[in-house]
């Protein structure tokens, strides 16, 4: 009960605020209902954004449909589009930008209503627009941005006698040394401690390592660049703790569960965990993602946008009306509770101090996550993840693994 009323209160106050900012708009000529396929259930802040918007009674009513993770939602959208029932909008991972545009036919916001699009886009930091511009079309707004950072279980850290003052810019030497010390001090001796480190076995953190080493997965010219010495160095450092036994690569869910129950001391993962990690059994402290000694850092970011898939004009226009609200200061404020970075021009406070390293990384400058090109982009991520796994479990050495990934990706991504 408490929760419901709290949610209602928040939605209500946000709505009032939004009404003053956006101004009372005349209702559209005909009332429209749009459906958004999202990766957030009804208990997530996104629902509050939707509720706040609906409370404005602009004539547009939005319903939020939770469709699971990016991959599942994307697959569902394909079926919906083929069946002639596309969702008006869908949360689309940046990494699937090409797929969204070229295969699913995400719409160019400028083509729907260029004037309105321009006023919405003006809410965001201009330097981020390339992230959501695919083939010259603006298919979303660069707003739900996160970046991987380092979470540390402070209790375990202290028990191992490590310094609670974390460096501003940690590197792998420092991090791996700490992991070894943790293992030496706590393994087999502590009730909940089981493992020192987890870097997240996915396409994202491996990209961070390659970039921090000065390489690329896909270079700025759109070419696969895995066969570089820098990529090899990055992946060697990425795999090192796994090969050394400091890191047991598991799924994201298993990793999260282990960290939350105090079994895992260090975990590098999405900054969005700042909304939940530090408050469970594991009291967390956070730091920037580890850089590579002697190299300039070049961290990547990830995120999603709401792309418009509605084919008819009324639905598309209604979608813009919702985007306009989301982009406003009030919309962004509610939105930030997910644990996303503020990419808008509005002044929005951090949800908590655990987000500081992430905000720091944003200030340092962030690149996009790998946007897999070609209409088979969905497969690109799976292939890269597979090869990362192979390198982690020493099925191939790093050099051969990168070559294997390069060749297989090249075959899939060529027909763009």
């Amino acid at each position: 009960m408490v929760e419901i009323s709290r949610r209602g209160l928040l939605a209500g106050s946000a709505a009032v605020a939004a009404a003053t900012v956006v101004g009372a708009r005349p209702a559209l000529s005909s009332d429209a209902t749009i459906e958004i396929s999202s990766i957030w259930g009804p208990d997530k802040p996104f629902q509050k954004v939707v509720d706040a918007f609906n409370a404005l009674k602009t004539g547009v009513t939005v319903t939020n449909r939770f469709d699971g993770d990016y991959e599942t939602a994307t697959a569902k959208a394909l079926a919906g589009i083929a069946a002639g029932k596309p969702p008006a909008m869908m949360t689309t991972g940046w990494k699937f930008g090409y797929y969204a545009r070229r295969t699913l036919g995400a719409r160019d916001l400028n083509e729907i209503d260029s004037e309105k699009a321009a006023s919405i886009i003006a809410n965001f930091v201009p330097s981020l627009m390339p992230l959501v511009t695919i083939d010259g079309a603006v298919i979303g707004l660069p707003w739900a941005m996160s970046t991987p950072i380092t979470f540390i279980n402070s209790a375990l850290w202290q028990e191992a006698g490590l310094d609670a003052n974390l460096p501003d810019y940690p590197d792998t030497d420092w991090l791996y040394e700490a992991a070894r010390k943790l293992d030496a001090a706590l393994k087999g001796k502590h009730a909940t401690y089981r493992s020192a480190l987890a870097l997240s076995n996915n396409e994202w953190t491996s990209q961070s390592f390659i970039q921090n080493a000065g390489g690329y997965i896909i270079d700025p010219d759109g070419k696969l660049a895995l066969n570089s010495a820098e990529a090899v160095r990055g992946m060697e450092l990425f795999c090192q703790p796994a090969h050394e036994g400091l890191w047991t690569p598991v799924s994201g869910k298993e990793q999260d569960a282990a960290f939350e129950s105090g079994a895992l001391a260090i975990c590098t993962t999405s900054s969005t965990r700042a909304a939940s990690f530090p408050f469970g059994a594991a009291k967390a402290i956070t730091a920037r993602f580890p850089g590579i000694p002697g190299q300039a850092r070049k961290m990547n970011s990830g995120g999603n946008f709401l792309a418009v898939y509605a084919r008819n004009d009324e639905q598309a226009k209604a979608s813009l009306a919702f985007l306009e609200f989301c982009a406003s200061a009030e919309g962004q404020k509610i939105w930030s509770e997910v644990g996303y970075l503020n990419t808008s021009v509005h002044d929005i406070p951090l949800i908590n101090d655990f987000m500081k390293p992430a905000a720091g990384q944003l200030q340092d400058g962030l690149t996009a996550e790998t946007i897999w090109p070609g209409k088979r982009g969905l497969e690109g991520q799976t292939i890269w993840r597979k090869w990362v796994s192979r390198m982690l479990m020493k099925e191939v050495d790093v050099q051969a693994g990168l070559k294997g990934a390069h060749d297989e990706l090249a075959a899939v991504l060529q027909d763009a």
């Binding site: 083929a82 089981r194 079994a263 088979r376 969905l378 497969e379 479990m393």
Partner: protein
Amino acid sequence: MTRSFVAKLAPWLFVGPAVLSVVVFLYGPILASAGLSVVDWNLLSPQVDFVGLNNYRSLLANTDFQLSAWNTFLYCVILVPAQIVLPLLFAVMIHAVRGSRMERVYRGSLFLPTILAYSVAGVAWSRLLNPINGLFNEVLVFFGFGPSRWHTDPDLALLCVCLVTFWKSFGLNMLLWIAALANVPDTLREAARLDGAGPWRRFFSIELPLISPTAFFISVTTVFSVLDDIVGVVDVLTGGGPAGRSSNLLYFLWQQGLQFFQFGPASAVAMVSIAIVLAITCAQFWFGEKRVHYQ
């Protein structure tokens, strides 16, 4: 006149819906797969491109396909005997305590996983198998062994999937065995006992021959239900990983076809799988027919 006409027509009316539905929904899709396997098309591509046998050719060269084909073989070799023999063993034990109040409890408990949803099973098992602090590892460590990586270990992943698949689906075969054993007349057992046959002899010379039709039935259906059941377990437990080590042909098909929407290659996988299914079925009938004792 009309009566005899109706009588002639009646059997067709009786079997019509069944025959039609399997033809339309099961044989039809298989024919359609054959067609899809020679084209390049997804739901959204504007035209259907005929590519001949290209899908098959690239499939045979695809190492993920080879790995999942090999895994399919391993799964069959491990799981099919397990799914036949162990449920029989359980059934024999339950049969031995028939009439006792606990019989229903045992039967119910052992059958319970069979009625669970895959999604539920996946959630329950991932807590047990978590390589960092799952309960299995806690137990291993407690007894002084090192922790295992379970389903994330390339060499164990397939076995973990076997374990969960077995757990999830041995119940139906067990019930079939229990029913078959209940059908063996007690007089025969008694006669053999009076002749001085011990429990093992009695089992092998009286019961086993009499339940051989069930054995045949189970062995035919198990191969395929095993293939199918694995897909659900893989989907919730490993996603085919690590690096394809726990995938099988049908999961590969599922991924290619319904995650990546590569209908052509996925349908080629379907055709290859159908060929294998047919070959196994024929072999089973060829071997089985001669050895089954019908009452």
